[in-house]
């Protein structure tokens, strides 16, 4: 796929959608309209969008506790998403999952896990099934830099390379594992190098540059789809908000204000906007129209979530097993 006007505008619109959604969720958290723990994706939008642009509906995306961006980028329904944040019955997970457990099975979103690194081997398994069933789907897993401290990450890289499976590992290196800076977590902070040691391709890119993500992901997804095996993409980025909730973790003394400002200047949306204007792909009016449309969509989602039914306590035990309860 080329970086045509059409594609760039799609990438931009999807990024704006995630940004405005997350910033609205931050407000709703402050108002306590949303109460479940929420890990915001603001500042990392280019990664989910740049990768998912290469995926078809049947491809699988596995995600983490910070999953709203992946959900929206893969085509998950925005109303179902908001309703899940409200823990309502009409939420994508019927109010049983909350922000950290999002799925939209029909859109290739089988689920996200709050256990750091938990979905990495599961994505490898989906890729195994695709290969065994001889269908050319690809499995993608997003995870943070913190997950590379988990043993199962290394097991998964090895198993994927050993069996040459169609899986793409996307590490969103936002420099922090909850409160802890990467330099305190990893003796060698170049995560992409772990790929070579495990026998698969690895690359490190500027994750805030959606065109770089789009290019690297395009190559990795196409290689995986064509039977050439897995790859690891390390995307350097930064989450603007704190680990959890609407705050910035500056107040807690966990991060430096200057550092945050530096990264806000590297805003992935401003970066792509600049290119759109330079190439004359967009006017101020068109930009404003996109924002208005997205805002409307989010407001509709909030209205939907607000009016949605709460789960019925009589149905507490439903879905423990396929047949309900035992």
């Amino acid at each position: 796929m080329s970086d045509s006007k059409e594609i760039l505008l799609k990438l931009y619109t999807d990024m704006v959608k995630i940004r405005l959604f997350e910033e609205k969720v931050a407000e709703l958290l402050e108002k306590r309209a949303i109460k479940c723990p929420v890990h915001l994706y603001t500042g990392q939008e280019s990664i989910a969008v740049g990768v998912c642009a290469h995926l078809k509906r049947e491809d699988y995306v596995f995600s983490t506790h910070r999953s709203h961006g992946h959900f929206l980028a893969k085509g998950g329904g925005i109303k179902k998403l908001m309703a899940e944040l409200y823990c309502k019955e009409e939420g994508c997970s019927k109010g049983r999952g909350g922000s950290m457990h999002l799925a939209d099975a029909g859109m290739g979103l089988p689920g996200s896990s709050a256990i750091v690194g938990g979905t990495i081997p599961i994505a490898v398994g989906a890729a195994l099934a695709f290969k065994t069933r001889k269908i050319d789907n690809v499995s993608v897993v997003f995870f943070g830099d913190g997950a590379t401290n988990e043993g199962v990450f290394y097991e998964s890289l090895n198993l994927a390379a050993l069996m040459k499976l169609p899986v793409v590992f996307v590490c969103e290196n936002n420099l922090y594992s909850t409160h802890m800076h990467i330099s305190s977590c990893l003796a060698d902070t170049h995560i992409y190098k772990k790929a070579e040691a495990s026998g698969l391709a690895g690359i490190k890119i500027d994750g805030n540059d959606v065109l770089k993500v789009f290019k690297a992901a395009g190559e990795a997804v196409s290689a995986a789809r064509n039977g050439k095996g897995p790859a690891l993409i390390e995307c350097m980025t930064y989450r603007w908000r704190g680990h959890v909730g609407p705050n910035y973790d500056i107040d807690k003394g966990l991060r430096d204000k200057k550092e945050l400002q530096h990264w806000m200047e590297q805003c992935p949306i401003i970066k792509i906007e600049k290119i759109l204007f330079e190439r004359d792909y967009i006017s101020e009016t068109e930009k404003s129209d996109i924002h208005i449309r997205v805002d409307e969509e989010i407001e509709e989602a909030i209205k939907f979530a607000d009016e949605a039914r709460s789960p019925n306590p009589d149905e507490l035990m439903v879905n423990v097993f396929k047949e309900g309860q035992l």
Binding site: K94, A105, L128, E155, M163, N319, L326
Partner: protein, 327 residues
């Protein structure tokens, strides 16, 4: 009817399920190496190939995640652990992921996964090559747990586990592997959640799991000579338990001894004991007695092993105890 060994019953179930359903795969350590898993997988790799019979390195957590993911993408994996002791490495994937997945996402998808754990103990193998972990797995809400006690149920429960749309932990004990029994040639299932009365009796109920059923039968034969008439229940499913079978038998005999090959504290025997007390207290004529492993790691020394693993003698003694003090 044809009589075959427990090992051959397992092997036949796998051959027939892999042949009948192309979604079924077998994945785990040693599946291509017959000695590793007591000959249960003989001939599978040759017949079905390395794409469906997948031998894995020692990566229990990774491999379990792989099996879960494969289940989410259209396969029905059988995930093998040649020793239960190594399943602790896989606990996060089993308890946090497989067990929770369906519920956590509002029932959008299933994990049709058979988690096959083998109890491999005795022979001075010591604490990390001996464990029977049925109680741990029965504790997690989204898992079913089954334990066959004979060749018929080995084939029937393994088939039922593979056909179930939920994660099922299928636990078998290598002490059963050479037992012979009647096994139909064709595929059939032993229903999950149903126990079986192996011997009817009026004096006392003996509820046992897995290999302990064999010891329970020996104990009952011995007690027959003392004119004690023992009813034996083979539980077959640890979760869900066959509550009505337990209730009816407890109601009839008024006495119960529970025999399980796991540890006593918070074990399967403790759970059944509590359940029977809740359901049938008014019918009980004596306290429920548990025969289970002492709360110690498995020892190596054969002399200590003999003291550690309960046998028919210990069961018979428990039954005499129950009958002696209360009328």
């Amino acid at each position: 009817m044809r009589r075959i060994s427990y090992v051959d019953a397992i092997n036949e179930a796998l051959h027939q399920k892999l042949a009948a359903d192309e979604r079924v795969i077998l994945i785990g350590q040693g599946v291509t190496s017959p000695w590793y898993v007591g000959n249960t997988t003989v001939g599978l790799a040759d017949k079905f190939g390395s794409e469906r019979v997948i031998d894995t390195p020692v990566s229990e957590s990774g491999t379990t995640g792989v099996a879960i993911g494969a289940a989410l993408a259209g396969l029905r994996p059988v995930l093998l652990f040649p020793r239960m002791d190594f399943m602790y490495y896989a606990l996060d994937q089993i308890a946090n992921h497989a067990s929770n997945w369906r519920y956590m996402f509002g029932g959008q998808n299933n994990i049709p996964l058979t988690i096959w754990g083998i109890i491999n103990r005795g022979g001075e193998q010591a604490a990390q090559h001996s464990q029977a972990l049925q109680a741990i797995f029965a504790h997690f809400p989204g898992l079913k747990v089954v334990m066959p006690g004979n060749p018929y149920d080995a084939k029937g429960l393994l088939t039922a586990s593979i056909e179930d749309d939920n994660p099922v932990v299928f636990i078998d004990d290598r002490w059963l592997y050479q037992n012979m029994g009647e096994v139909p040639k064709e595929l059939y299932t032993t229903p999950i959640g149903k126990g079986a009365v192996l011997r009817t009796g009026k004096d006392i109920t003996l509820a046992a799991t897995s290999y302990m059923v064999t010891e329970a039968l020996k104990a009952a034969e011995c007690l027959e000579r003392e004119n004690i008439d023992v009813e034996i229940i083979d539980l077959r499913s640890i979760k869900p338990l066959d509550e009505s079978l337990l209730f009816n038998s407890a109601k009839k005999t008024g006495r119960m001894v529970i025999v399980d090959g796991g540890w006593k504290t918070c074990g399967v025997s403790a759970e059944i004991s509590a359940l029977v007390a809740e359901m049938a207290f008014n019918h009980l004529r004596a306290p429920i007695i548990r025969v289970a492993l002492p709360d110690a790691p498995a020892p190596a020394s054969q002399i200590l092993e003999e003291a550690y693993y309960p046998r028919a003698d210990n069961i018979a003694e428990a039954i005499r105890e129950s009958l002696k003090n209360y009328s």
